[in-house]
């Protein structure tokens, strides 16, 4: 089995542990990023309460914020990143620049419910708690909290031994009689977190020369396994049926 196949098998195993039965949608470029917003708009228009997970992957790219995209330096930074093989796309949520690639599992939780929206902590908890539970089922103990030195740092990072393994963000849409929320996590399952950190640092440095992200602040599920951090033996990828990919 190639490294890519092993990475895919591990990603599917993690996805199945967190959201059993939810397929993982492979995507390409900007389209999968915007699909969450389109789905949420459709759910809001339909009006009835609803809750759904969407799991997806993307091809290699950087994803940055609208605020960055309005910066006059953006076009140059975007062109330089693209020349290095990292096309840049823009998302609606806050934070700073992140990476997408085949080893990053994106988990989106879309909800429409009556009444005013809950506080942000509750929106994040609804997303993060099932992810923590799923990782725990795989023997991977994780917590939430800020990780100094990490890129796109936030209070609701998912962390393993003090290193960031997933970033989170959300969007809240209050309406007259109901609300919609979109909560999203980008979980690094495999790949090279140090290389990811390097390209984000290179991109963000063009806007903030003082930005210094620390590669040691990031990790991945695969790295946790290599470091022997799993408390239980992971199911062999060969024993996993990737029927949903």
């Amino acid at each position: 089995m190639s490294a890519t196949d092993e990475g895919t098998a591990l990603l599917l195993r993690v996805a199945a542990a967190i959201a059993p039965g939810v397929p993982v949608e492979p995507g390409h470029g900007a389209a999968p990023i915007h699909r969450d917003e389109d789905l949420l708009a459709t759910m809001l228009a339909q009006g009835s309460p609803a809750r759904r997970w969407r799991l997806w992957t993307n091809t290699r790219c950087l994803v940055t914020t609208r605020s960055r995209a309005r910066d006059p330096r953006f076009a140059t930074a975007q062109a330089q990143a693209a020349a290095l093989g990292w096309p840049v796309h823009v998302r609606g949520s806050g934070g700073s620049t992140v990476v997408h690639h085949a080893g990053v599992l994106n988990l989106s939780l879309l909800t429409v419910a009556p009444g005013p929206p809950p506080a942000l902590d509750a929106v994040f908890a609804a997303l993060v708690d099932p992810i923590l539970a799923g990782l725990a089922r795989l023997g991977l103990p994780c917590t939430t909290g800020p990780v100094p030195g990490s890129y796109c740092n936030g209070r609701f990072n998912i962390c393993a031994a003090g290193r960031k393994i997933a970033g989170t963000a959300c969007s809240v849409r209050p309406r007259a009689t109901r609300h919609a929320t979109l909560a999203h996590a980008a979980l690094t399952v495999s790949g090279n977190p140090a290389a990811d950190c390097a390209i984000v640092t290179r991109f963000d440095s063009q806007f903030d020369p003082a930005c210094t992200y620390d590669a040691a602040s990031h990790t991945s599920v695969a790295q946790m396994l290599r470091d022997g951090m799993a408390t239980e033996k992971m199911v062999s990828p060969a024993g996993f049926e990737p029927a949903t990919y």
Partner: protein
């Protein structure tokens, strides 16, 4: 006239909130229910919608810090 107010109780008051985007220009007509601005806080975006139809008046520039209860504009 209807004030556009930054919601209270939605996030930890120690978090910095920023009015990131006006989706309409000052003086532009908006309809009730239209999302007119986005607030960013704790890596989250929060829609601010007009409660009535009318003309938008902007009181706070994009990228400004805002606090819960603050009036950032009006629709009249």
């Amino acid at each position: 006239m209807n004030d556009l107010v930054v919601p209270a109780g939605m996030w930890d008051e120690s978090d910095t909130a920023v009015l990131s985007t006006w989706l309409y220009r000052d003086g532009e007509a908006v309809v009730a229910g239209a999302v007119v601005a986005e607030i960013m806080v704790s890596k989250s975006s929060f829609d601010l919608a007009a409660r009535v139809s009318g003309v938008l008046r902007i009181a706070v520039a994009e990228e400004s810090e805002v606090r819960p209860g603050q009036v950032v504009g009006t629709v009249a």
